[in-house]
């Protein structure tokens, strides 16, 4: 269920992990996870979706983005470019036939593959939310930091946001990054029913949403 794959890194390739449901079948879905904390909040949901796809005959793989989850690479060294390169490499290594990019995953997924984007989000929106969390926490601690000032520092030196040390390249990249989807089908939260799992303050899962997402993908792949 866990497989290693060679991921490009600044000091040469590293072995990174992916969760896989792999029976060498014809249809193979690469899942590009959301970024930052949204990855943790959606992980159980995505793995539940993978279980359902396995049952209906679709292989799937959920790789770690380098610097995230079990990765041996440093988070601070990452940029949207390094994540794009890594996900393209994962697609080739696992011979993905289709792709599902979730939320911020849409900023870094290999968009030559057919597939889906689930509620894609602009980089600026992710950045804005993390900056806001930091200014709110700062205010409680009696610090007067503004989002604009923090952003200025972040572009030059990098920045600690939401428990992650973002390098300057990642901050600058997020500011202008738009979802990369080109012809992939967009799935909205309303297609899945229920509230968005990445919004939840506490991570959770929802079998109904996993069923709905797996059904959309299975139907699209078979078509």
């Amino acid at each position: 269920m866990n497989a290693g794959w060679p991921c490009p890194g600044p000091g040469g390739p590293t072995e990174e992990l992916a969760v896989t449901f792999d029976r060498q079948r014809r249809h193979r879905l690469l899942i590009v996870p959301p970024l930052f904390d949204e990855m943790n909040r959606t992980r159980r949901f995505l793995i539940e979706t993978m279980r359902r796809l396995d049952i209906v005959g679709v292989d799937s793989v959920l790789p770690d983005l380098p610097g995230c989850n079990e990765s041996v690479q440093a988070f601070e060294a990452q940029s949207l470019y390094s994540w794009r390169k890594a996900m393209a490499q994962a697609a080739a290594h696992f011979r993905a036939s289709h792709v599902l990019a979730v939320r911020g995953g849409a900023l870094v997924f290999p968009n030559a593959l057919p597939g889906w984007v689930l509620e894609p989000v602009k980089g600026a929106s992710l950045l804005r939310q993390m900056l806001r969390a930091r200014t709110l926490a700062g205010r409680e601690a009696g610090l007067a930091e503004s989002s604009a000032e923090l952003l200025e520092i972040g572009r030059e030196e990098g920045l600690d946001l939401a428990g992650y040390r973002l390098g300057a390249a990642l901050v600058a990249g997020l500011e202008s990054a738009m979802p990369l989807d080109e012809g992939q089908r967009e799935i909205r939260q309303s297609d899945l029913g229920g509230g968005a799992l990445w919004l939840r303050a506490e991570p959770g899962e929802d079998p109904g949403q996993a069923n709905a997402l797996a059904a959309i993908i299975a139907e699209g792949i078979a078509a």
């Binding site: 939310q129 993390m130 806001r132 969390a133 409680e140 968005a196 919004l199």
Partner: protein, 86 residues
């Protein structure tokens, strides 16, 4: 207008805080939010405000966010209604 805003705001809080339908429906003007609900830490508040911006198509500036506006459901509703009217 107020009614419509209230419904959407309830849905957003339900999603962010994983409230049951009953608890979401029971939110009233006096229900305490920031400081009263332990799930509402700074990350959750940031998520909540971003979602409010997206769904109502408004922009909330840094300096508009304070403890008072987030203190109760009623205060937050008044704030959002004000932004929508502006």
């Amino acid at each position: 207008m107020g009614n419509d805003t209230g419904l959407t705001l309830r849905t957003i809080l339900r999603d962010v805080l994983s409230l049951s339908e009953e608890r979401a429906a029971a939110l009233d003007a006096e229900t305490g939010l920031f400081g009263a609900m332990p799930e509402l830490d700074s990350m959750a508040v940031a998520g909540l405000l971003t979602e409010i911006e997206d769904r109502f198509d408004i922009i909330i500036e840094d300096d508009e966010v304070d403890g008072e506006m987030l203190e109760t459901f009623g205060a937050l509703l008044t704030f959002v209604d004000g932004k929508r009217g502006a």
